[in-house]
């Protein structure tokens, strides 16, 4: 892959000397899409249509657990329950299963709301503004900007990796090396960040998974109870050993999934992110002055509707667009720049991940 990139770079300056010859030359070499030189640490699939975080080990574990437990349920418990109770059981389980898998895949493979890095012109313009307004001296002043949102003062921090002031509620994910809008957290179980664009998918995934886990748990208990009425519990377990496995998996996962669903329901109702809640950004205990969440609509129903049923924002990173053949973008040097910027931040004493908003 790297060899391909170097070859293309060698071709481009030679062929690009006259503008007239540029068109046939670019037709000969494959036009690269923007996702191929994306600055962050993400993986792209289907020609840039899908993207996820770098580490996906835990995601495959999540997927595996869901498929195996549901598979065992449909294979071993559903036939007995359909015969002795109702056909509705496998239908409900099937619908829930489809919903869980769909929301999980949407959460994992959707752009969470990544902000593209500032262009060199923008970065230079910002630097000029900071130099003009900031103090002079050897140590650069802390790069923050204050804005007033709905009567509340919010500090915007400068992101050294992305070379811009982060909008409110945006945070830089160090695992993915991207600024993500309305950053909630980086979830290893879905292998992606959870942000503005995929929070609703994540929440519906948690909710539907809690229902599915609880439903399977209840059905397996019912199954074993019905069987043990005829043959006794031990014999019932021997007849359907898969049910015991499902019981164990569901029992241990239902608490954490229900707990997480409850926590995120609270977050949705108060229009908060996990990031803000953990840092206590809008907690009244934090500071003496009144500190309320400026993004909340002050009504549970409106908050829920806004977060879950609001307009679906577009992806701001143009993954499928073609790279301008004039500007050669290399992923390697860009990563080096961001690492260098991080080192610079460490020297200054700031942490790109740590922000007040």
């Amino acid at each position: 892959m790297k060899e391909c990139e170097y070859r293309q770079i060698a071709l481009a300056p030679g062929n690009g000397s006259a503008p007239a010859s540029q068109a046939p030359a670019s037709r000969k070499q494959r036009r690269r899409r923007k996702w191929e030189s994306f600055a962050g640490k993400n993986r792209f699939f289907c020609g840039g249509r899908l993207m996820s975080g770098r580490q996906s080990g835990a995601f495959y574990l999540t997927l595996g657990l869901i498929f195996s437990t549901s598979g065992l349920f449909f294979g071993f418990d559903c036939p007995y329950l359909t015969e002795n109770l109702t056909l509705a059981i496998p239908i409900i389980a099937g619908l829930l299963f489809v919903f869980v898998v769909s929301t999980l895949l949407h959460t994992s493979f959707t752009d969470p709301g990544i902000l593209p890095r500032a262009t060199p012109d923008e970065a230079a313009d910002l630097e000029k503004q900071i130099d003009n307004s900031g103090g002079s001296g050897y140590r650069p002043p802390p790069r923050t900007k204050e804005v007033v949102i709905n009567g509340q003062t919010v500090k915007l921090k400068y992101c050294f990796s992305c070379k811009m002031f982060r909008p409110p509620r945006t945070s830089h994910c160090s695992l993915c090396d991207n600024c993500v809008e309305r950053f909630d957290h980086h979830c290893p179980w879905v292998g992606n960040c959870v942000g503005k664009r995929n929070y609703r998918f994540f929440y519906m995934f948690l909710l539907s998974l809690s229902f599915l886990t609880a439903f399977i748990f209840a059905c397996v208990i019912t199954h074993l109870t019905l069987r043990s009425q005829n043959t006794g519990l031990l014999n019932a377990l021997q007849e359907t050993p898969a049910s015991a496995l499902e019981l164990v998996v569901c029992f241990f996962s239902v608490w954490s999934i229900l707990g997480l669903s409850g926590f995120h329901t609270y977050l949705v109702a108060s229009n908060l992110t996990t990031n803000e809640d953990i840092k206590g950004s809008w907690s009244s205990k934090r500071s003496s002055e009144e500190n309320t969440n400026p993004y909340s609509y002050n009504s549970i129903v409106t908050n829920c509707c806004a977060v879950l049923c609001g307009p679906m924002p577009p992806s701001l990173i143009d993954r499928r667009g073609f790279l301008d053949p004039d500007t050669i973008q290399l992923p390697g040097p860009q990563r080096k720049v961001s690492q260098g910027a991080k080192t610079e931040v460490n020297l200054v004493g700031g942490d790109p991940n740590d922000d007040v908003n």
Partner: protein, 160 residues
């Protein structure tokens, strides 16, 4: 295609002098709104009311795209019921408004800004962070330039 011809003429007959960035305005929250403050660099290039009209119209478009109301609830609920599979085939309302915005910016460039040696870049190409306005200087050697009619742009050669 007309826009390409105008841009090509602009690039051939003018050189890029500087870029002005209109930043986001967060006073009403995290909705996409841009500052309407008239930048001093554009004072000699374009009339203030044209600039303010453009930015205000863009702000209205973005407010329309992000409006939380009946249509967005319907879209959200329908998507939820279909397990979000509908997003694969359906174009969201936001995307429809973005297309309208692109068209509007193209029109504004053709009618107002390119004749004055300016070029507005669609904010979506800059991650909705800034409105980038490129200021082109006419090359004094080329007599036929893309600037036509308006007095504000003909003084570019004499300006340093």
């Amino acid at each position: 295609m007309a826009e390409v011809h105008n841009l090509q003429e602009l690039r051939q007959s003018a050189s890029l002098a500087t870029k002005v960035f209109i930043q986001r305005d967060y006073t009403d929250g995290i909705l996409c709104q841009f500052q309407t403050k008239f930048p001093p660099e554009l004072e000699s290039r374009v009339e203030r009311h044209y600039f303010e009209d453009t930015v205000k119209t863009l702000n209205n478009y973005y407010a329309e795209a992000e409006k939380i109301g009946g249509t967005s609830y319907f879209e959200g609920c329908l998507a939820c019921i279909t397990a979000y599979i509908i997003f694969i085939c359906m174009e969201t309302r936001y995307e429809k408004v973005l297309k309208k915005i692109s068209k509007y910016i193209q029109e504004q460039n053709e009618k107002i800004y390119t004749p004055r040696g300016l070029l507005i870049t669609d904010p979506i190409e800059r991650g909705l962070r800034v409105i980038e306005i490129a200021i082109y200087e006419d090359r004094c050697s080329s007599g036929s330039s893309s600037s036509s009619g308006t007095g504000s742009s003909t003084s570019s050669c004499s300006r340093g």
